[in-house]
Amino acid sequence: MGDADMSDVIIKDNFESAPPASAWRDFWRVFFRNKVATIALGVVLVIVLVAIFAPFITPQDPYDLRSLVLRDARRPPGFVGANGMHYLLGTDSQGRDLLSAIIYGLRISLEMGLIAGAVAFTIGAIVGCFAAYAGGRFETFIMRLVDVQLSFPAILLAFVVAALLGQGKGQLILALVFAQYAYFVRTAHGAASAERQKDYVQAALSIPMSGWFVITRHILPNSLPPLIVVATVQVAAAISLEATLSFLGVGLPPTEPSLGMLISNGFQYLLSGRYWISIYPGVALIILIMAINLVGDQVRDQLNPRLRK
């Protein structure tokens, strides 16, 4: 047996074949295997598209008071109005087409949820990673602060902040962020502490790379998976929190009718048989939150190495 023969045998064993398809494509392949999650993702996408293109889709502009016919107020679903308008889901107490109102409500709810989620995500990721990297008193201080905050229910914090700041989109986003950033800090800190101990971080520090470089290029990117999972859950939570606050009257002003306010408006008619004014916005809210959570569940299952097959 010749030399070449021998080395050939061994080398083939030790060098892995061509790299597998990209992790991104793999992710979606596994994702689409779960039918429920795929449908939920479709629902979320449809809702997002509908919300973005609301002005082109809705039969009526619910903000345009001229288009409202007061005579058609509180009409049941399927009612055909005086001007020939077909109210698919009925009308509310101002004669507003409920379908249009819900679509615009979804738009506002999604906007609030996404912006608040994104801001909380950013703050949480940065603060959490820095705390894990810095260690010592800074870490202790930040994490105990977060612990204290987590011991209050989010709704209570949001309620207090919203009540203090008054009504308005910006104020509400602030309230939502304040109620939720702590979850992101906790998660980021946990993930970053684990990464901090790993050899590649030690390797970078021994080169030596600056702390800023290590945090932004090494620790943060590697801490993202759990943060993304928390983000999906927290966006859904932010939307329901916003709806709750609006329902209670400390959320958005009446000029920005979110789903919560629509539900609240119809609340007084619920027992008089005009169920649709409250129920349909409620159903829309449930579908949205459920769809986001189902997507989030699947993402969590896929990103959690412990649950991986």
Partner: protein, 561 residues
């Protein structure tokens, strides 16, 4: 001798997302009564899966394929219902795993773990259980077994834990014990003891054993017959003398050639002379190499390292009033003194807990010593992580952990030189490519991510990353310990070549004496945080002065052919 176990055409396939993985693909062998049968192979060869198949402990997606046959004392066990299998498991076939930390439940006393194993198959009173537990521990030479059975696993050393695991495996006097890398996680001196005891136990109890290992030397010492596995198949089987003495298959020959203990020190190892990923290209890098100079280029003076256990404020308070535990300091390095000349490779040898890694990290500047100081080229290695100079670089043990999974190979290698002005953004490509070529890594693959490469390739990337900083000293912390022998040979060859042309100064930390002998000029032996002996390689291996060094050298398993 009659055969106890007869395996015929065993095929174990795993269904994964990427299709069927044929982990074990049609192997046949038999194990005789009272025999130790060695199953050797590199990682991924299917040797462990063979063991798990025999005992029926495969993951849910793995399946022994129809047509396979496993006969234990004449009885077919493939296709037996789970309940039957469970009766066989532990009673007739027992298993010992690699990591004794993982196999023992940390919250249960030893006696309770033994009780569980006993009661899985028979009824026994508490007294009976205690009596048998003491007996079982005594059998594996654990001193004071009456006291030891009431302790928890964390109070045991690694070797003692593995002894307990063996004791549990032998409880029901099984016909067959499957030991999967049982001594791999242990120090050589402990390994030597356990090998001896296992041999004696097998003879005493008349059990048969399958000894699964990647280490040819230990297998050759303990077993009578062996099988060499590769990619799910057995390539060669026979007595130790036959297979290792006159290997018939090129793969077996290659495995033997890759062992540094069989080559002359400093020579390139045979099995890896042709590199699939291209030659080592050093261009004009050799010109930058410093001239060899005598004297102490690296100087370590009376370095002490004490790790205080963090007790916190409450702990300090309670200590003051004598109700807390006294603070527990670990003296990892005691008065270490050593020098390395320019262009020299110094081996730092010791068993686990000897303080060798700590000393390496001090020299690298990752840790600041409690006392003493380290100078490289006359300048002090500065304290603290961020202010550390670029003159000392480090290569870590685990190439899977030491590269950031989310940065490309190019980024990983370029980060340091860019941050320290060794190259500019415009020239970074060419700069990085030069160093990648120096470690025989194809620069065309530089934009891929670490997970797409094997352990050996990753370790070469890590070496390129260290070289690219143009360090004065490279600290290698067990750089080949987690690699398979043939990959290990490639990395060792790379280090030899680089060292020759670039005149590198290396501190080579290792527990593997054969690698150290092959690669180093001088060796320092550490024991319990102290440097016990320092000598030239030839001198140390031929005429060790200290009893500890002698013991260490004797304990190294040698290929028994």
């Amino acid at each position: 001798m009659t055969e106890l176990l007869k395996v015929e055409n065993l095929r174990t396939y795993f269904e994964t997302e990427r299709g069927t993985v044929k982990s074990v693909d049609g192997i046949s062998f038999e194990v005789r009564k009272g025999e130790i049968f060695g199953l050797v192979g590199e990682s991924g060869s299917g040797k462990s899966i063979t063991g798990f198949s025999l005992i029926g402990l495969l993951d849910a997606n793995g399946k022994v394929q129809p047509g396979s046959s496993i006969k234990l004392a004449g009885r077919e066990i493939v296709g037996l219902p789970d309940q039957e299998l469970r009766r066989i498991r532990g009673r007739e076939i027992a298993m010992v795993f690699q990591d004794p930390m993982m196999t023992l439940n940390p919250v249960l006393k030893i006696v309770d773990q033994i009780a569980m194993a006993i009661r899985a198959h028979e009824k026994a009173s508490d007294q009976e259980v205690r009596r048998r537990a003491v007996e079982a521990l005594a059998r594996v030479r654990i001193v004071e077994p009456e006291k030891k059975i009431d302790q928890y696993p964390h109070q045991f050393s690694g070797g003692m834990r593995q002894r307990v695991a063996i004791a549990i495996a032998l409880l029901h006097k099984p016909k067959l014990v499957i030991a999967d890398e049982p001594t791999t996680a242990l120090d050589v001196s402990v390994q030597a003891d356990i090998l001896k005891e296992m041999k004696a136990l097998v003879a005493e109890l008349g059990v048969s054993m399958i000894w699964i290992s990647h280490d040819l030397a230990t297998v050759s010492q303990i077993s009578q017959r062996i099988a060499v596995m590769r990619r799910g198949e057995i390539v060669e089987t026979g007595t130790v003398a036959e297979v290792l003495g006159q290997p018939q298959h090129p793969y077996t020959q290659g495995l033997l050639d890759a062992l540094p203990s069989r080559a002359r020190p400093g020579e390139l190892l045979a099995s890896a002379t042709t590199e699939s990923s291209g030659p080592i290209v050093l261009d004009d890098l050799a010109k930058t190499a410093p001239k060899a100079a005598d004297g102490a280029f690296v100087q370590v003076d009376d370095v002490d390292m004490v790790f205080e256990r963090a007790v916190g404020r409450v702990g300090r308070f309670t200590q003051k009033f004598g109700i807390g535990q006294p603070s527990h300091a670990v003296h990892a390095v005691k008065g270490a003194k050593l020098t390395i000349a320019q262009g020299e490779v110094l081996g730092l040898v010791g068993e686990s807990g000897s303080g060798k890694s700590t000393l390496g990290r001090i020299i690298c500047g990752i840790y600041t010593p409690t006392a003493g100081n380290v100078t490289v080229g006359g300048r002090k290695v500065r304290e603290g992580q961020r202010k550390l100079g670029t003159g000392v670089q480090m290569i870590f043990q685990d190439p899977y952990a030491s590269l950031d999974p989310r940065r490309t190979i190019f980024q990983s290698v370029a980060d340091g030189p860019l941050a320290h002005g060794l190259t500019t953004r415009r020239d970074a490509r060419a700069y990085v490519n030069r160093w990648l070529k120096a470690v025989a890594f194809d620069p065309a693959l530089a934009d891929r991510y670490p997970h797409q490469f094997s352990g050996g390739q990753r370790q070469r990337i890590a070496i390129a990353r260290a070289l690219a900083m143009q360090p004065e000293l490279i600290v290698c912390d067990e750089p080949v310990a987690s690699l398979d022998v043939s990959i290990q040979a490639q990395v060792i060859n790379l280090l030899i070549e680089l060292r020759r042309t670039l005149n590198l100064t290396l501190l080579f930390i290792s527990h593997d004496l054969s690698v150290v002998r092959h690669l180093c000029d001088r060796v320092v032996v550490m024991h319990h945080g102290k440097i016990v002996e320092e000598a030239n390689v030839a001198q140390l291996f031929e005429a060790p002065q200290q009893p500890y060094t002698k013991m260490l050298l004797d304990a190294v398993p040698k290929l028994a052919v």
